[in-house]
Symmetry: C3
Subunit: 310 residues, 3 copies
């Protein structure tokens, strides 16, 4: 039996490991072992609040019989007041439990943490960096719906420059799931960054870029919608206004449903603001709440693979 030694970035996995994650996720979804993590303690270290992600991890840990301690806003609480470094905090926290789930407000936080921790780290989002467990749950959702992740046309829509979920998703698609085509649909100022495009090119993934959603909708199998990451535009209010204005053209609503294939699915990492209208929620193609639920099973699988082995 081997152990996963943490989850830091999308690129770390072999294709075989990704397959194993999915097969353990299925097991967790269907017959979770209640006392598997008895005696284990998870430390949720969130430097910025993310109620959804934190509770998803904490639910996963509790369902497997483990215990949770943590903080939901470390940046505003003790750390800011006292000026302690992430490195010191992690070094101490790594004595408090058996695994750390870290949300950090700056890119590279998870990697820095791993260098100083004596226990495994799961990256639960690091600024504009990555959010690898989100990408895994996204892919698990696609796999459940289509049986396989191949030959699909996948549109990523919205604030692609600041959305870390779409970035992580691209890494996974390039490395492990050849034979799909990606459509980047975004306001001009928030296009997918070049590093990702290069990465896709290197792996021979076909991609195209547009700001015309209506043209893309009839063609694609997956619409992955994202929100404008308002909190990333703090010092750029005029850019934000423009992005917001152009984003209005990218909303998924009742009219979009008419254009879409019957077999397509609409995904969203949540939270959703206005970029998908509420009247789309009851359409059978709207899978974003199922997607969030899958997150719990994926995280249960990862906790098992890290703390117990596989």
């Amino acid at each position: 039996m081997k152990k996963l030694n943490g989850v830091i970035r999308a690129q770390q996995f072999s294709t075989k490991t990704v397959e194993e994650i999915f097969s353990i996720t299925e097991w967790m979804e269907n017959s979770p072992p209640a006392d598997l993590l008895k005696g284990k303690v998870m430390v949720t270290l969130f430097y910025e609040p993310s109620t959804r992600t934190r509770l998803s991890f904490e639910s996963a840990m509790n369902r497997l019989g483990g215990r949770v301690i943590g903080t939901e806003n470390a940046k505003d609480f003790s750390s800011k007041a006292k000026g302690e470094s992430l490195e010191d905090m992690v070094r101490v926290a790594s004595d408090y439990g058996h695994i750390i789930v870290l949300r950090y407000h700056k890119k590279g936080g998870a990697k820095r943490a791993q260098n100083f921790s004596r226990i495994p780290i799961i990256n639960a989002g690091d600024g504009v960096g990555q959010h690898p467990t989100q990408a895994l749950l996204d892919l698990y959702t696609i796999k459940k719906r289509f049986g396989k992740i191949k030959g699909l046309k996948i549109a990523m829509v919205g604030d692609l420059a600041n959305g870390r979920t779409v970035r992580s998703l691209c890494y996974f698609l390039a490395k492990h799931f050849p034979g799909n085509k990606i459509f980047f649909v975004s306001p001009k100022k928030t296009r997918m960054k070049n590093d990702i495009k290069r990465y896709l090119d290197r792996y021979g993934v076909k991609w195209t870029e547009t700001d015309n959603l209506a043209q893309v909708l009839p063609e694609v199998d997956v619409i992955y919608q994202t929100r404008v990451q308002k909190e990333r535009f703090k010092d750029k209010q005029s850019v934000y206004k423009q992005v917001e204005r152009e984003s209005r053209e990218l909303i998924i609503n009742k009219e979009s449903l008419i254009l879409m294939k019957e077999s397509a699915i609409i995904m969203h990492p949540l939270p959703r603001i206005t970029e998908i209208s509420y009247d789309v929620d009851d359409d059978k193609r709207a899978v974003y709440f199922e997607q969030a639920r899958n997150g719990i099973f994926v995280r249960m699988a990862l906790l098992k693979m890290i703390l117990v082995g596989y």
Copy 2:
């Protein structure tokens, strides 16, 4: 065995159910079954902080062997920053556990949540709306002291317009406990609202209204004191000043004790600010801390009735 399908508002219960709640509460007080809720997860979703109420529910859940995950300030944390709706949050949270305990800052929150949740909701206070578990613990406290809730004279004192506990209490008294008389004692600007008065009238409950506490004290069996809900007066500072001034006449102190019956009890939903002086605490008629303790047993009973059945 049947299950309670959530606790949203005071009016939802039949008199028989209220009696069953009290009899299970007694059981919980005397011999709580330690592992009854093993494997169950409670999600405490608090949009505004209420340390006391949250910890009371979390203590109840833990005493029965269940697990707790949650957030104590969702409005200030992720939701405000990202603008997510209550409906979306609840839909996702309903995958995280087996029951949601919701505190919301606006009236109607619990009802809205119930419409979107796939698991039961307990309303732990929704703005100026209701706080039904508080009313249940209030009534349980009265019943323990007087043996029955009948033929009693009950004074509700303080900010009756904004206090949701007195509102919920009136609903219960009207529907399930006939034969009591209510005295509303309040500053002029914070009188009990008309909807409640109508409700009492409909059920034939006798009530009277005054701002003279001294006149009422010698007569009543229960004094239910409440604090001025300062946080509800944000844009009405001059009204607040007047209410605060008149409230000084409604303080329960050593002198009030002299006027009161020997058999009377003084209740308060807490937190208490200045409306009951500290030197009253040691009088045997002061039951507000016992009342808070009863809250744990009532909540244990409700959790059992919802998650296991009765």
Copy 3:
């Protein structure tokens, strides 16, 4: 079997009890009994956030099978908004569990709490008052390294006026560990206060005072470094500037290591800001992270001695 009835201040213990704490701490470090506190609930009541201390206690409780409920910022959350007293909060919280761990922002908080609580209180820091469990873990660390706490030269460095850890440490050294010598090294405005100097004199402990760290370093066995308690200087910005400037002379860095004995140890209660350079961390004399780890074992021992007995 007797029980410890809480931990309020350093002076409360007999020398025999301190020895018993250390021997149970050793047991907790080497073979912790996993279900010892099953069914027990700890309430962590933190009026100001201290992620490290809170998580240390919560980790200790969880490792022994107990449960935790709590709040990490009571002052900013419900209490501030509603103006409730510490006494009322504690009275209610003492129904929620079997032990309260209290961090309070003002001196004397733990003592006040104990007067109103029906369950034991552990003082997790009260303003500029005390932090007795910190002192215990400090001493346990010294004992582990030197075998005994006798005949040692101990330098306490930094903001000695506002640092409660050095105060608690002095109390313990004076009362229980005779035969050591203390060197106070600090900026002029933050010298150790007179009450502690008197206390040391009363017990015949030798101490001296200086602002020259380099002179002291070659001589001492223990360097106990502390940070400037910035949050205690809110209304004294010019004093703060001066203290900060003089503190730069008290930094432990690579050069300090050359001056120090090979057998010496560098301690710090953490969080560390700039008063120990990062390049010191890998030196074998740097024990501050081990010290933090020892805190978990000390707290496990105290929880056992209070909740189960010894």
